[in-house]
C-alpha cells in the first residue's frame, strides 16, 4: 500500500529535535501546527479584548475604562481577530491539509512557507506593543478611516502601519505557496475537477489575497506618507479626499471578508457529506458558485460607503451588485441542505459545528441582504445591527468552520481521538452563548444604538446586559476547547486511519497520524477517483 512505503521513507526525513525544529522547520505539518497555535493564541488575546469591551458595556455609565482606551480595545480586537486569528487559522488549515489532499509530499515552496509563518509573531508582537507606547494603541477602529488615522492618530500608528505591511507580506507569500502547490504539486493523475472543495476554495481565496493585500499595502503606505512626509492623499486641505481612503480600504476590505469565508465553505463541504453518508450535492456548481462569489467580491466594495455622499447612480450600481451575491451564496446553502436531504445522518462534534454553521451563517446572510438595500442601510449603517451581522458571518461562520475543521481532522493530525462527550458539551455551550451574545445586538442596532461607543442611553441597557452575559459565557467556552484539544494530544485514544467511516479524501488514506511527508509517490488514478468528492 502507498501508506506503508511512505512511512518507511520517514526514517530519513524525520523532524529535528527540540525547539529549533519549530524555528527551522520547512515541513507543511509543522508549519500548519505553528499557524494554528499562533492563531489560537491571538484568538484568546483578541477574545480578552472583547471581554473588556463587553464588561464596559455591561451597564450604562463608564465603570472600567476611559473612552480612549475603549476605542483602543475595539480597534485591536478587530485587527487581532481578522489578521491574527481567522486568516492565520485558515492558512494553517491550508498548510496542513492541501498537500495531503492533492497527493503531494509537502508545499511547493517550503522555505518561503517557514518565512511567511515566522513574520507573523513579529507583526503581531509589534501590533500588540502599541498598547505600551506613548499615546496608546491605535484607536480609530479596524477600518482605520482617514483622517482619524492620519492627522489625528497617536504616534503608535506608524508601528501599526509596519505591522500591516508585514502581515501583508506573510499573506501574499502564503497565497503564492498555495497556488504553486495546487497547480504544480498536485498528483499528475488529479484533474482540477477532481480536487476536494477545500482545495478549490483555498485556490480561489489565494487569488483574492494576491489581488487584495497589495491594495491594503498601498492604503497604509499612503497613510504613512500623509503622516510623515507631507503628502495629502486623504487631506482635503492639500487637494486630497478622505473618501478616497475608504474606496481603497474597501477595495481590499470586501475581498478580505470572502478571504475569511471561502475556505469555510470548503470545510463545511467536506464535513456534511461525511456525516450525511451521501455524496456532496452539486460539486461543480459549488466550484462555480465559489468562483462567482470571488469575482463579485471585487466589484461591490462601496456598499460599505452608502453614506459617504456617493452619486445616486453609484449607489444603485453597488446595491444591485451586492444583491447579486445572494444568488451564488444561496446556491451553496441549498447544495448543503440537499446533501443532508435523505442522508443517514449522525451528529458527531464536527457535524454539529457544520450544521450550525449553515444555520447561523445563513442568518448572517439574511442581515447582509438587508444591509445591501441601500436606503435601508441608512438606518442600519454603523449601528449594532452591522456588528451583529458581521459577527454572525465571522464568528458563527468563519470561526465555526475552523473549530469544525479542528475536530474533523484532529484525529489525522494527532493520530488520536478527542473526547466526544466533552466536544458535544462544548458545542452546545458555545452555540447557546454565542446567540445570547450576538442576537440581541440586532435589536440594539434597529433601536438606534451606534457601534463603537463606550456608553449608551438607558433604553439600550437591557439588551446590552444580556449580550454581555452571553459574551462572558462564550468567552469561557474557549477554556473548555483548550482543554479538549490538549487532552486529545496527550491522552486521546488511538484513532484509525479513517475515523469517520464515510469520509472521502486522499488524506484518509495516510497513516492514522499522517506521516511527516504526505505522499512520496503520487496516488494512482484509481485511488483519486475513489476518494473524489466529484463522483
Amino acid at each position: 500500500m502507498t501508506t506503508a512505503t511512505a512511512s518507511h521513507d520517514d526514517h530519513h526525513h524525520g523532524p529535528e529535535k527540540g525547539l529549533m525544529r519549530w524555528v527551522k522547520t520547512t515541513n507543511h505539518k509543522d508549519i500548519g501546527s505553528l499557524y494554528m497555535w499562533f492563531a489560537f493564541t491571538m484568538l484568546l488575546i483578541g477574545g480578552a479584548f472583547a471581554m473588556g469591551i463587553r464588561a464596559e458595556l455591561l451597564q450604562p455609565g463608564l465603570q472600567l475604562m476611559e473612552p480612549q482606551f475603549f476605542n483602543q480595545l475595539t480597534t485591536m480586537h478587530g485587527l487581532i481577530m481578522v489578521f491574527g486569528a481567522i486568516m492565520p487559522a485558515f492558512v494553517g488549515l491550508g498548510n496542513w491539509l492541501i498537500p495531503m489532499m492533492v497527493g503531494a509530499p509537502d508545499m511547493a515552496l517550503p522555505r518561503m512557507n517557514n518565512w511567511s509563518f515566522w513574520i507573523l509573531p513579529f507583526a503581531g508582537g509589534i501590533l500588540l506593543s502599541t498598547f505600551f507606547m506613548e499615546g496608546g494603541a491605535p484607536a480609530f477602529g479596524w477600518t482605520f478611516y482617514a483622517p482619524l488615522s492620519t492627522t489625528f492618530a497617536p504616534d503608535s500608528t506608524d508601528f501599526f502601519i509596519f505591522a500591516v505591511h508585514l502581515l501583508g507580506f506573510s499573506s501574499i507569500m502564503g497565497a503564492i505557496n498555495i497556488i504553486a502547490t495546487v497547480l504544480n504539486m498536485r498528483a499528475p493523475e488529479m484533474k482540477l475537477m477532481d480536487m476536494p472543495l477545500f482545495v478549490w476554495t483555498w485556490l480561489i481565496t489565494s487569488f483574492l489575497l494576491i489581488g487584495a493585500m497589495p491594495v491594503l499595502a498601498g492604503a497604509v503606505t499612503m497613510m504613512l506618507t500623509d503622516r510623515n512626509f507631507g503628502t495629502a492623499f486623504f487631506d482635503a486641505t492639500g487637494g486630497g479626499d478622505p473618501v478616497l481612503f475608504q474606496h481603497i480600504f474597501w477595495f481590499f476590505g470586501h475581498p478580505e471578508v470572502y478571504i475569511m469565508i471561502l475556505p469555510a465553505f470548503g470545510v463545511v463541504s467536506h464535513i456534511i457529506p461525511t456525516f450525511a453518508r451521501k455524496p456532496l450535492f452539486g460539486y461543480s456548481s459549488m466550484v462555480y458558485a465559489t468562483a462567482s462569489i470571488a469575482f463579485l467580491s471585487y466589484i461591490v466594495w462601496a456598499h460599505h460607503m452608502f453614506l459617504t455622499g456617493m452619486p445616486v447612480a453609484g449607489e444603485l450600481y453597488f446595491m444591485y451588485a451586492t444583491m447579486l451575491i445572494a444568488v451564488p451564496t444561496g446556491v451553496k446553502v441549498f447544495n448543503w441542505i440537499s446533501t443532508m436531504w435523505r442522508g443517514s445522518m449522525t451528529f458527531e462534534t464536527p457535524m454539529l459545528w457544520a450544521v450550525s454553521f449553515v444555520f447561523l451563517f445563513t442568518i448572517g446572510g439574511f442581515s447582509g441582504l438587508m444591509l445591501g438595500i441601500a436606503p435601508a442601510d441608512i438606518q442600519y449603517h454603523d449601528t449594532y445591527f452591522v456588528v451583529a451581522h458581521f459577527h454572525y458571518v465571522l464568528v458563527t461562520g468563519a470561526l465555526w468552520s475552523i473549530i469544525a475543521a479542528v475536530f474533523y481532522w484532529l484525529p489525522k493530525w494527532t493520530g488520536k481521538m478527542y473526547n466526544e462527550k466533552l466536544g458535544k458539551v462544548h458545542f452546545w455551550w458555545a452555540m447557546i452563548s454565542v446567540n445570547v451574545l450576538f442576537f440581541p445586538q440586532h435589536f440594539l442596532g434597529l433601536a438606534g444604538m451606534p457601534r463603537r461607543i463606550p456608553d449608551y442611553s438607558l433604553q439600550f441597557a437591557d439588551f446590552n446586559l444580556i449580550s454581555s452575559l452571553g459574551g462572558f459565557a462564550f468567552g469561557a467556552s474557549f477554556i473548555l476547547l483548550t482543554y479538549i484539544v490538549i487532552d486529545c494530544v496527550r491522552n486521546g485514544k488511538p484513532a484509525s486511519a479513517r475515523p469517520w467511516s464515510s469520509a472521502k479524501g486522499l488524506e484518509w488514506t495516510l497513516e492514522p497520524k499522517a506521516q511527516y511527508h504526505s505522499f512520496n509517490t503520487p496516488p494512482s488514478r484509481a485511488l483519486i477517483e475513489a476518494e473524489s468528492q466529484n463522483s
Binding site: 450604562p60 455609565g61 455622499g309 449607489e315 443517514s344 449603517h381 463603537r452
Partner: protein
C-alpha cells in the same frame, strides 16, 4: 478611606446590576403576553418623515421576505436533521446532482431580488433628490460637538452634550435615570419648522463624523473639506434625538443631536430671538472686558469645550492631552496660545468657530486659572490673531 469609597461603589454597582437583572427577567416573562416593541425598541423606528416611512416599509418588506425564505430553508434543513438520521434507520440516498433543481434555486432568488430592487431604487432616488428644499441648515461636525448654521437667517451656534449628563457618566444608576434621556441631551437644541422641506448641508471641521436622526431617516457622513446633503420634511411637532454615527475619536459616544421641530410661528419667533442674541454678541466682542468678566465667562467655555481632555482642574491626560496647570503655552506668549486654540495642532482640534469673546475669555481663563500667570487676552486680540 479611598478603599472604602471604592468598596461602596462596588456594592452599589453590584446592587444596580442585580436590580437590572431582576427587572429584565420579569420583563422577559412579560414579553410573552404584552407588546414590548415600543418599550424595548426591538425594531426600527417608523419616524416622522416620508423618507423614514419609506425606509421602514422597505426594511419590513425585506425582513418578511427573509423570514419566509428562512422558514422554507431552515424548515427543510431541520426536517432533514430530525427525519434523516442514522439512529432512525435512515438509509442514505446516493443522488448528488440535479440540473433542474440548480436552475430553480438560481432563477427564483434572482426574481425575488429584482422584486426587492425595484422599490429600493425608487426610495433611493427620492431620498437623494434634495432640490425641493425650502430652507437650508448647514451642519458642521467637530470633535466632539455639532455646529449649526442657518445661512439665510444669519444664525450660528454650537451644540454640546449637556453638562449635567457629562457629570453622571461615572455617577450612579440613579443619577443617570434622574437626568432623563441620558447621553441624548444637548445644551442648545437645533430648532426646525414643521411641514417644511429642509436641506441639510453636512460637513466636518476635523475627522469624519456622521449626522444621524433616526426619526428623520437622515444619516449622512460629515467629511472634512466636502459638503454632503440630505433632506427631511418633518410631519409632527416634537423633540427628536440622535447621535454621531461614525467613529470620530475619544468622545464619539458623547456628541448627541437634539432637534426641536416647532410650528412655523414658533420657529419665526425663535429666529428673531436668535438674531437679537447674535447682534448682542457682536456688540460684546468689540468692548473691552474686565479680567473678572473674562474669567467667569472663560470658566464656563472651558468646562464645555476643553475639560473633556484637559480636565476641569487643568491636570490633563498626559501625554496625549497635556496639563493646563504650569503649561508652557498658557504661561508663555499670548500669540502662541491664541494660535494653538484657533488653529489646533495634532490631537488638539481647532476652535476658530467660537466667537471672539468666548475665545478671549477661555484663553484668559487658561492663562490665569490653575495657578498659571499668563496675560489677559481681549476679544480684539483674538480678532486680530485670526
Amino acid at each position: 478611606m479611598r478603599l472604602r469609597i471604592n468598596e461602596m461603589k462596588g456594592i452599589y454597582l453590584f446592587g444596580g446590576f442585580m436590580k437590572r437583572l431582576t427587572t429584565l427577567l420579569s420583563a422577559l416573562v412579560a414579553m410573552m403576553s404584552t407588546n414590548v416593541f415600543a418599550e424595548y425598541g426591538l425594531n426600527m423606528t417608523e419616524g416622522v418623515t416620508s423618507i423614514s416611512h419609506d425606509i421602514y416599509d422597505l426594511h419590513m418588506m425585506v425582513f418578511w421576505v427573509c423570514v419566509v425564505i428562512a422558514v422554507v430553508v431552515f424548515g427543510a434543513m431541520f426536517y432533514s436533521v430530525f427525519a434523516h438520521r442514522k439512529s432512525k434507520g435512515a438509509v442514505a440516498a446516493q443522488f448528488h446532482e440535479s440540473t433542474k433543481a440548480e436552475l430553480v434555486w438560481t432563477i427564483v432568488p434572482v426574481i425575488i431580488l429584482v422584486g426587492m430592487a425595484i422599490p429600493a431604487s425608487k426610495v433611493l432616488i427620492d431620498l437623494e433628490d434634495t432640490t425641493k428644499a425650502e430652507m437650508s441648515v448647514k451642519i458642521t461636525g467637530h470633535q466632539w460637538k455639532w455646529q449649526y448654521d442657518y445661512p439665510e437667517e444669519g444664525i450660528s451656534f454650537i451644540s454640546n452634550l449637556a453638562q449635567s449628563h457629562k457629570d453622571v457618566v461615572t455617577g450612579t444608576d440613579a443619577d443617570r435615570e434622574a437626568v432623563g434621556n441620558y447621553l441624548l441631551e444637548v445644551d442648545k437644541h437645533l430648532v426646525l419648522p414643521v411641514d417644511t422641506s429642509i436641506r441639510f448641508l453636512i460637513t466636518s471641521n476635523d475627522v469624519i463624523h456622521n449626522w444621524w436622526v433616526p426619526a428623520f431617516g437622515v444619516k449622512q457622513d460629515a467629511n472634512p473639506g466636502f459638503i454632503n446633503d440630505a433632506w427631511a420634511k418633518v410631519d409632527e411637532i416634537g423633540t427628536y434625538r440622535g447621535q454621531c454615527a461614525e467613529l470620530c475619536g475619544k468622545d464619539h459616544g458623547f456628541m448627541p443631536i437634539v432637534v426641536d421641530v416647532v410650528s412655523k410661528a414658533d420657529y419665526a419667533k425663535w429666529v428673531s430671538e436668535q438674531q437679537a442674541a447674535a447682534a448682542a454678541a457682536v456688540a460684546s466682542a468689540t468692548k473691552t472686558w474686565s479680567k473678572d468678566e473674562l474669567m467667569a465667562q472663560g470658566e464656563s467655555v472651558y468646562n464645555t469645550n476643553c475639560a473633556g481632555c484637559h480636565k476641569k482642574d487643568g491636570s490633563g491626560m498626559p501625554p496625549v492631552f497635556p496639563a493646563m496647570k504650569g503649561s508652557p503655552i498658557a504661561n508663555g506668549a499670548a500669540a502662541d496660545h491664541m494660535d494653538i486654540v484657533l488653529n489646533g495642532k495634532g490631537a488638539m482640534p481647532l476652535f476658530k468657530m467660537l466667537g471672539d469673546a468666548d475665545l478671549a475669555a477661555v484663553i484668559t481663563y487658561e492663562r490665569n486659572a490653575f495657578g498659571n500667570t499668563g496675560s489677559v487676552v481681549q476679544p480684539s486680540d483674538v480678532k486680530s490673531a485670526r
